[in-house]
Symmetry: C2
Subunit: 249 residues, 2 copies
Amino acid sequence: MNASSAPPRRDGRPPMREALVAAAFHLFLERGYEQTTVDDIVALAGVGRRSFFRYFPSKEDVVFPDHEGCLADMTAFLAASPADAEPVRRVCDAARLVLRMYAENPSFSVQRYRLTKRVPGLRAYELSVVWRYERALAAYLRERLAGRPDGTLRADVIAAAVVAAHNNALRAWLRSDGVGDAAATVDHALGCVQAAFGDSARPATAAAGQGGEAGAVSGTHGDVVVVVARRDAPLWQVVRELETVLGRS
Amino acid sequence: MNASSAPPRRDGRPPMREALVAAAFHLFLERGYEQTTVDDIVALAGVGRRSFFRYFPSKEDVVFPDHEGCLADMTAFLAASPADAEPVRRVCDAARLVLRMYAENPSFSVQRYRLTKRVPGLRAYELSVVWRYERALAAYLRERLAGRPDGTLRADVIAAAVVAAHNNALRAWLRSDGVGDAAATVDHALGCVQAAFGDSARPATAAAGQGGEAGAVSGTHGDVVVVVARRDAPLWQVVRELETVLGRS
């Protein structure tokens, strides 16, 4: 078994579980995913079938051994959010937990990416995992934006945008065989989402506190619009003022 | 077979296909999805097994009889886009094709929604369908935004946001048992996405044509920012100017 098929290691993981993942990936790469049975995996790992199913409900689950743990980490991270956390920044930080899992073991992640691309059943499994991450982010955002205009709509859209940005960057990194700085790529992608949504999801009270009363005033003079804003006014407030005067809101 | 389990009708659909969908839904509602076999469906419809599989690769496919056609419509719609179409508006219009399919037959759509919520296999199937819609939108946007900074990233994020907004509105309508104006709900949701991304995805040449040279200039005076813009300057250009002077871009 070569070093590159080693599973990601986390402290406290049972060695038998790790051995099953390693055996499974060795066989998947050697003879193909469909051609490998659970019996083959347990034979190579030197354990019984019941041990396999103690750790993994199905053969598909052994391909994604760390997603359940990562999802639990993400849920706990969001649940522990400070009340005054900027919600879009918080879900971006939560998404970075997924990246960290992939980046912990680049060669394993790249192998899995290639395997998943080839096997339709695994792609379907991956879609359901991604959906669960997205719902976890959306649930937190829905709570934070509750009572605000279009709160659940904005929560769902922001969660989807964060996941899409994260996955765009993650897949670019995986396609490049895990070479390069995955964290920087993901930071850039998430930065774009924060720029689009960051301030607009901020609670109204915090915005008012930063910008003073109106924060920005504007007027038109013929074909020219003039906006005067406090330097520390939130960008969204200035934009809203602009939209109002331009009649485009 | 009551009227509410009638499948959506489209001109040119073979009657046998319609009969199979109607028989399937009658049985799914009467005895449950898992408890219904393809043999049960063909017996009720009065046709042979081979006829079923001529129209549907699997039992799951009969639950979503119109998605393949809708996906083909969407792909054709995007391929026929005028070169100067505003890309975000265009993908929003493409998403409305999906809504139209659901809204054609509210009671059928509501029944399917309830069925899909109860059966994990159908939810997984639905996720893969949604993914294909999202990729169709993203492919068009990637082409339109090619060569622009972060083109593929923006394409993926906008496609995900459009799908999330559409589905947020669609599901609200389905949860309300298909009562109310589905189109208005979806229009509102897509409007939010257009407001967030619409102008920023506009080709630079079109923007320059609208705004003249710079379109907007700005400066700071102590704690105050002053922006002077042409009334017809694109909003994104004014915002970019603002971001530059505020140092937040």
